[in-house]
């Protein structure tokens, strides 16, 4: 049956996906600029981020109207609640992409510290999680969402490993502290993005199954 409420749901989902697309692009540009040593590409990250900010406000407004007009219940209610939270997560991910760009620019302003190995691996893993989280939202796929949760631990581990490794660099040579800190911050930015992807996956699980899996509760 066609419900008037469904139109609103479809529109919100499309808008959120568009936003997710920009987020993926922003992260991609920030990482590629860093890895390929192309500082000019950082500008694009800012462009994407401002698009994300516009959508962030729009989605909030749409949700407010949707709640006021449709008084959703059950699955619709869970959906709208998830959209509100995912909206915030995506906006934060955009901010983190900008942070990567800023830190990356700083890092590229100095001679390279070392060949980047762990950062690209971590970035790849994080981007995969973002894509998977968004896919699980579109397809209402519990398996995909659960997979995102499972990957988060690996990203956290990589961040710790990068931190330990760079700590030894900093202790060995104080001149390398600035570059090392830039890389540590980037790994921290990536880790935050992965956390937001995890939040999205948790919201998807709530929408689909009605179960709250946050803070250690399992599906």
């Amino acid at each position: 049956m066609d419900r008037s409420i469904d139109q609103g749901i479809v529109k919100l989902r499309e808008k959120l996906l568009l936003m997710g697309g920009y987020v993926e692009k922003a992260i991609e540009e920030a990482i590629q600029a860093l890895l390929e040593n192309q500082p000019t590409r950082f500008e694009k990250v800012h462009a994407y981020e401002s698009k994300i900010n516009v959508l962030h406000k729009e989605v909030d407004e749409d949700c407010l109207k949707f709640l006021a007009i449709q008084s959703p219940l059950a699955a619709d209610l869970r959906f709208i609640l998830a959209v509100i939270k995912i909206n915030t997560d995506l906006e934060r991910m955009g901010d983190q992409a900008v942070n990567i760009a800023l830190n990356g620019k700083e890092y590229l302003g100095h001679p390279p510290l070392k060949p980047l190995i762990d950062i690209p691996r971590m970035a790849e893993q994080t981007q995969f999680m973002v894509k998977e989280a968004l896919d699980s939202f579109v397809q209402r796929d519990l398996a995909l969402a659960t997979d995102v949760l499972d990957r988060d631990d690996a990203v956290d581990a990589m961040k710790s490993q990068i931190f330990r490794e760079l700590l030894t660099y900093m202790m060995g040579d104080p001149k390398k502290i600035e570059q090392s800190l830039n890389l540590i911050l980037i790994s921290r930015n990536l880790e935050r993005i992965a956390d937001h992807a995890t939040n999205i996956a948790e919201d998807v699980i709530f929408v689909v199954s009605g179960k709250d899996v946050r803070h250690g509760a399992r599906l």
Partner: protein, 250 residues
């Protein structure tokens, strides 16, 4: 909480039509239970089995058990008329008795069932209980039908409360009222459940979500799901409940 009203394997029929199918449901004391479901799902019939009004319809019959405070209201020794004095009922359309004043409307139940003591006091208490006293205390002699729709419905609630029933049944009590009167009656329902157990049939899901502690979803005469309202309206367990409350059918 211990149940005050408990239906056990209740079946209701209209001649050959099986309107309520094997429903078991326990209502905790001093709570508000909402019965929801599409038209013709048996929720109103179920409600009318709880005060033996169903059998007033020709060729209608009831099988199974309804316990009120632990004892059966379908006991053969009981007079259905007496049963109804302990289970009040409020109807969809406000129906004050025509030709009677506001005061007479409130006390008519007491008067015609033989307890004529302290009627003034009982009337005042009942009208206060129905949040109508302030509006009508200066015109108790006016006809009950002279009140507005929302006031009439609260008069009907006062009429039922005057009998001091432990349980009050309401059959879509606000479906004939405007939004402001509806809000007043809803407010009243919430305050009433401190002293009375309420079982309310409603078509308005937002209303059920707002006022009830527990909600029962009926479909084709069966009880599909019965749960805390806060759970049923956010995370229903049954797919049919989900479909109904999100408006996918019905």
């Amino acid at each position: 909480m211990k149940p005050i009203v408990e239906a056990k394997n209740l079946n209701a029929y209209f001649e050959n039509f099986h309107a309520v199918k094997n429903v078991s449901l326990a209502v905790p004391e001093k709570s508000l239970v909402a019965l929801i479901g599409p038209s013709g799902c048996g929720k109103s019939t179920f409600l009318r089995c709880l005060n033996r009004m169903h059998e007033e319809i020709p060729k209608a019959r009831v099988e199974g058990e309804v316990l009120l405070g632990g004892s059966s209201i379908y006991d053969r020794k009981l007079d259905p008329v007496a049963v109804r004095r302990s289970i009040g009922m409020v109807f969809q359309k406000p129906n004050p008795f025509p030709g009677m004043s506001i005061f007479e409307n409130v006390v008519v139940g007491l008067k015609l069932t033989g307890s004529r003591d302290r009627m003034d006091q009982v009337a005042e208490e009942a009208l206060k209980g129905a949040a109508l006293w302030e509006e009508v205390k200066d015109k108790l002699k006016k006809p009950g039908t002279s009140l507005s729709g929302g006031q009439q419905q609260r008069l009907c609630i006062a009429r039922a409360l005057a009998m001091k029933p432990p349980v009050l049944l309401m059959d879509e009590p606000t479906s004939a009222l405007d939004p402001i009167s509806t809000a007043k009656v809803e407010e009243l329902m919430i305050s009433l459940k401190k002293s009375v157990t309420l079982i309310v049939v409603t078509h308005n899901m937002q209303q059920a979500a707002r006022v009830s502690d527990r909600t029962a979803f009926f479909l084709m005469g069966e009880l599909v799901e019965y749960d805390e309202s806060s759970t049923l309206f956010t995370v229903p367990k049954d797919a049919k409940t989900e479909q109904y409350i999100t408006g996918r059918f019905g």
